[in-house]
């Protein structure tokens, strides 16, 4: 990166204003200083050991083989990472389903549109990070066993796990690191899994859904129905995706100079919207785990004063897009009280899958479920020339039909080509036949 300070957005050179140059120069030094060599080296060492364990048949490695039609991306250290694009096992996030179902329904709708087969499994439990990280009411054995249980279920269904929630993604990266590097944890976990008739299956690559959107961004952009070129978008990268085991996330030299995580920014650029930068992009959203549920005072103050207010002041963006349950919920719901206190700045907060689905013409309420979001998204939709008023009336009509007992509309996944691995009938849990 010679000292010519211009960044290339979508392969065309844009020279920066004086002030932006200073900011990017700061970022570049900051990131170079931040490449904690140790974290990256250790992670690569773990990946080597993982392959050795497979040779010694201590573990089963769930490879991203050809049937998953993998696409290649680069990670922070330049390692090539395979992102599966089809036959995905949807690892749903417990937060989004409870509070903002919009971004999982948008994702499924996009996959149906692109005819991507996937499994919406009910034999999936959450990653229980709420115990482990949220409250310290778990331990490394339990969280790792839950991780491996879910991965084994995906392996059985012969579908590759696609992780929706940033925290689960970060949590599973840490669990995989611990289970590969610490023999003690691995043996204890194997003993538990044996009792529920499962084995240690470790996915060769841990993939977050925003990385899937990243590799599919051009197909999505082709199906764009609404012009978003006048929409100014600020992106927030979720901490757990790129700070937990910082090596393993997608970076792209063409997106923000490979200095910052590529995923959500790349799909915004692919759709043609204007990506705006703000000073504390590196900051957390204020989720704080336990804080968002039982100590919202700190969480809402942080989200507003450290994220919403600076973004609106610095960029006047039309929408704040992120790719994680906790972030969307925190940033969206934390604006109510500060506004009641008389602060003015507000901005709609949606997920990248919702933004993509909206641009592709999905129904704002039946599919993108925007009515679960509080921060005002009306003028965003107006700016995108989406007639949300009639869509809202249509949704109201649909609600009335449901009240009268109509069958709800469901997103049925396209048929799968791969056959699940058949399992013999399992003993019940306590070992008796």
């Amino acid at each position: 990166m010679d000292n010519k300070l211009s960044i290339n957005f979508n392969d065309e050179e844009i020279s920066l204003t004086k002030e932006d140059q200073k900011l990017f120069q700061k970022l570049i030094e900051e990131r170079k200083a931040k490449l904690a060599k140790g974290t990256i080296e250790d992670y690569l060492r773990m990946l080597e050991k993982m392959k050795e364990l497979e040779k010694k048949e201590e573990i089963i490695l769930h490879h991203v083989h050809e049937e998953y039609q993998p696409r290649l991306v680069k990670t922070l250290s330049g390692r090539i990472k395979k992102i599966p694009t089809v036959e995905l096992w949807q690892h749903k996030s417990c937060g989004q389903c409870g509070h903002i179902p919009g971004y999982i329904s948008s994702l499924y709708w996009i996959m149906n549109e692109l005819n991507i087969p996937y499994v919406d499994d009910t034999n999936q439990t959450s990653c229980t990070a709420w115990n482990y990280y949220g409250s310290g009411t778990s331990n490394s054995i339990a969280i790792t066993a839950v991780f491996l249980r879910n991965m084994h279920v995906a392996y059985e269904k012969n579908a590759y796990p696609l992780i929706h929630c940033g925290t689960s993604f970060g949590d599973y990266k840490e669990c995989r690191y611990l289970v590969v590097m610490s023999d003690e944890i691995r043996n204890k976990v194997r003993a538990i899994l044996k009792k529920i008739d499962r084995d240690i299956v470790i996915p060769e690559e841990l993939v977050h859904y925003s990385e899937w959107l990243h590799v599919m961004r051009y197909e999505i952009a082709e199906r764009k129905k609404f012009n978003v070129s006048n929409i100014k978008v600020a992106v927030h990268a979720a901490c757990h995706t790129y700070k937990l085991m910082s090596e393993d996330y997608t970076y792209d030299d063409n997106i923000l100079n490979g200095i910052r995580p590529a995923p959500t920014s790349s799909i915004v650029l692919a759709l043609g919207a204007k990506l705006v930068d703000y000073s504390n992009w590196y900051d957390c959203c204020g989720f704080g785990f336990r804080h968002i549920l039982t100590e919202r005072e700190i969480s809402r103050s942080f989200a507003y004063f450290r994220k919403i207010k600076p973004i609106v002041e610095e960029t006047q963006a039309d929408v704040l897009i992120t790719h994680d349950t906790g972030c969307v919920t925190t940033l969206d719901k934390s604006q109510v009280v500060p506004l009641a206190h008389g602060y003015k700045e507000t901005i709609p907060v949606i997920a990248d899958s919702q933004f993509a689905a909206l641009a592709m013409g999905a129904h704002p309420f039946r599919i993108c479920q925007l009515h679960w979001h509080i921060a005002d998204w009306k003028n965003l939709l107006n700016k995108m020339e989406i007639d949300w008023q009639s869509a809202w009336d249509d949704y109201k009509k649909y609600i009335e039909e449901l009240k009268k007992g109509a069958k709800p509309f469901l997103l049925i996944p396209p048929p799968r080509k791969l056959q699940p691995r058949i399992r013999d009938e399992r003993k019940n849990l306590n070992g008796e036949e």
């Binding site: 749903k92 329904s105 937990l244 549920l293 700190i298």
Partner: protein, 254 residues
């Protein structure tokens, strides 16, 4: 000679006494009241944790972690101080106990500190181990912190999901969502029917339909991994409820 008997008298049996930084003596006084065997046990639990040597190498006090720490912007909480006190805890267990009252509960567990530490330490992970120790030993700080959290612990350990739609049917929870919450409480049941995701459509008591088998395996894992026993001291009633639900599903706490 200076009258040093006064100082000699107040040394603890490890031959050490410290007053604490200005404004923080209440921490030190509290720690000094505890019996030292208990404090030493806590330090050993931390040092013998299998993740400890993955998370702690050396701390040269550069303050990188504090510079990116989100709670530091609102609360006087510094990950650097956490690592520093852990470094000295082996010879001075009071330092560790001081933090477990309120200090570690400020941490957001966002791991910015792990990403940025030049010595490749993981202050967030160390705080997590301390939280686990606080819960295992039933410290009143963890009771106070987790008391409002207990319903979620029950839901996670029995169904694997946390806040569920049926908890939104009144405006008691999250009143700070304002009028949206009142709306939500009124028509959440029908709105859930309008969610087009097959596994979530119409589900109220969980985030999505979870198979019976899955919940049994989840509870089995937590039982076998000793999670039920480790949180017995802090969340006694929650564990009883979990064990009851497990018994109904045929899992006996061995």
């Amino acid at each position: 000679m200076m009258d040093y008997e006064y100082y000699l008298a107040r040394l603890n049996e490890d031959g050490w006494y410290y007053g604490g930084l200005p404004g923080l003596q209440w921490e030190t006084e509290q720690a000094r009241k505890q019996n030292r065997e208990f404090l030493k046990k806590i330090v050993d639990e931390l040092y013998n944790d299998e993740r400890f040597h993955e998370f702690y190498y050396a701390c040269i006090n550069c303050g990188n972690c504090t510079s990116v720490c989100p709670p530091f912007r609102f609360v006087d909480f510094e990950p650097r101080i956490v690592v520093q006190k852990i470094m000295h805890a082996k010879d001075e267990p009071e330092l560790l106990y001081q933090m477990m009252d309120q200090y570690i509960w400020a941490c957001f567990q966002c791991y910015s500190c792990w990403d940025i530490c030049p010595a490749h330490n993981n202050p967030g992970g160390l705080v997590l181990i301390l939280k686990e120790i606080a819960v295992k030993n039933g410290l009143d700080s963890s009771k106070k912190a987790l008391e409002p959290y207990s319903k979620i612990v029950y839901k996670i350990m029995t169904t694997g999901t946390q806040i569920t739609p049926d908890m939104h049917t009144t405006i008691a929870l999250f009143r700070d969502w304002g009028p949206h919450k009142a709306e939500l409480a009124k028509n959440i049941r029908i709105d859930r029917k309008a969610v087009p995701v097959p596994s979530m459509n119409g589900v109220m008591d969980k985030s999505w339909k979870v198979d019976e088998r899955t919940m049994k395996e989840l509870m089995y894992i937590h039982k076998e991994a000793g999670v039920w026993d480790s949180i017995k001291k802090t969340l006694k009633d929650v564990v009883d409820m979990i064990e009851e639900t497990a018994k109904e599903k045929g899992i006996k706490n061995g």
